[in-house]
């Protein structure tokens, strides 16, 4: 059972990333704060007696549910369709070479001059904007897998889907991000 200090330390360690995750989904500071607060309270009230090792997975699941609840409450149909569908981004003509792009973004100096010409804050803004534009499931898989550093099985458990789906979502997310960032001349 997590002690109060362990729970406090855990919440402190995840609160900023949780806020950002919620913000990428709902695109509104106040709503994202409400969602994080709701998730924290649900965790503290109902799952505070869980062992500390279980808290990250449980919290991410609660955060996802809290975000879904927010969308349900809002009942903004267009927003739900835009944010919760898994359709691919428009303009996917199939001519994009993921290997070429990844290799280039992972070390080629070709983009350095472009990146240098944009301020660091602007680069962050563009990257975040591209993350926001990912389909919801792809974004969730990507953030859990690479930002929260869950393994594939943990990500699948947090998302309530199969490990194969997680791999597919992650791969598509990376593909889409690489393509979008390349188009803007951004090296992450």
């Amino acid at each position: 059972m997590a002690s109060e200090k362990e729970l406090s330390d855990f919440l402190k360690s995840v609160e900023k990333r949780a806020f950002k995750r919620a913000l990428y989904a709902v695109r509104d500071d106040d709503a994202a704060l409400d969602i994080v607060q709701d998730a924290m309270i649900r965790l503290a009230e109902k799952y505070g007696d869980r062992p500390p090792a279980e808290l990250p997975l449980v919290f991410q699941r609660i955060l996802s549910n809290a975000t879904m609840d927010w969308f349900r409450r809002r009942k903004v149909r267009s927003g739900v369709v835009r944010n919760f569908s898994d359709f691919e981004a428009p303009g996917d003509d199939g001519s994009f070479d993921i290997l070429e792009t990844l290799e280039a973004l992972n070390g080629s100096p070709a983009f350095e001059s472009a990146a240098d010409s944009v301020s660091r804050g602007q680069i962050l803004e563009i990257i975040e904007s591209q993350v926001e534009q990912l389909p919801a499931r792809q974004r969730e898989a990507f953030l859990l897998r690479y930002w929260e550093e869950f393994d594939v099985a943990e990500t699948a458990a947090a998302m309530g889907c199969s490990e194969g789906s997680v791999k597919t979502h992650c791969s598509r997310a990376v593909h889409a991000l690489a393509k979008a960032l390349k188009a803007k001349g951004i090296e992450p």
Binding site: E4, L7, S8, L11, K12, E15, K16, R17, F19, K20, D29, L33, V36, Q37, M40, I41, L43, A44, E45, K46, G48, D49, D97, I98, L99, E100, L102, E103, L105, N106, I123, L124, I127, E128, V131, F142, L143, R145, Y146, W147, C170, S171, A173, V174, L177, A178, P188
Partner: protein
Amino acid sequence: MNHPHMILSSGGLETLQSRFALRVAGRLSQSADELPHDITERLKAAREQALERSRLARRAEASAGVQVTGNGSSASLALGGGARSERWLKLASLVPLLALVAGFLLIDHLRVKSQIRAAADIDTALLADDLPLAAYSDPGFVEFLKAPRDR
């Protein structure tokens, strides 16, 4: 077709993907670390509120599980006990219903008994009473006497 990327295995692709994804994640972490002061303060307030709720929940749980012991070893009242106490509460809620049914049965039994007693009293009074002389001249009574016993 000598495409240079064809020599990369799927493992190589995954490595490239992971490396790229981790770099993006690193950028996102930078962004998260640079949240505005008002947002971090509101997050802190939210965290404290959650911890306060956790404290209340723990306190409520502890008080539900507490055992109140009376003076002496014979008198003790145990609260809590989880599923077992819930089962007892359900059983206890059936007691008034059972009492009501038992009451109806008792009332019915007493009513039948009093009717029997009243009929017996009438029969006793009739049998013990002297037969009036006029009864012997009553045609109905004569018919009654003539009728078979099992009627």
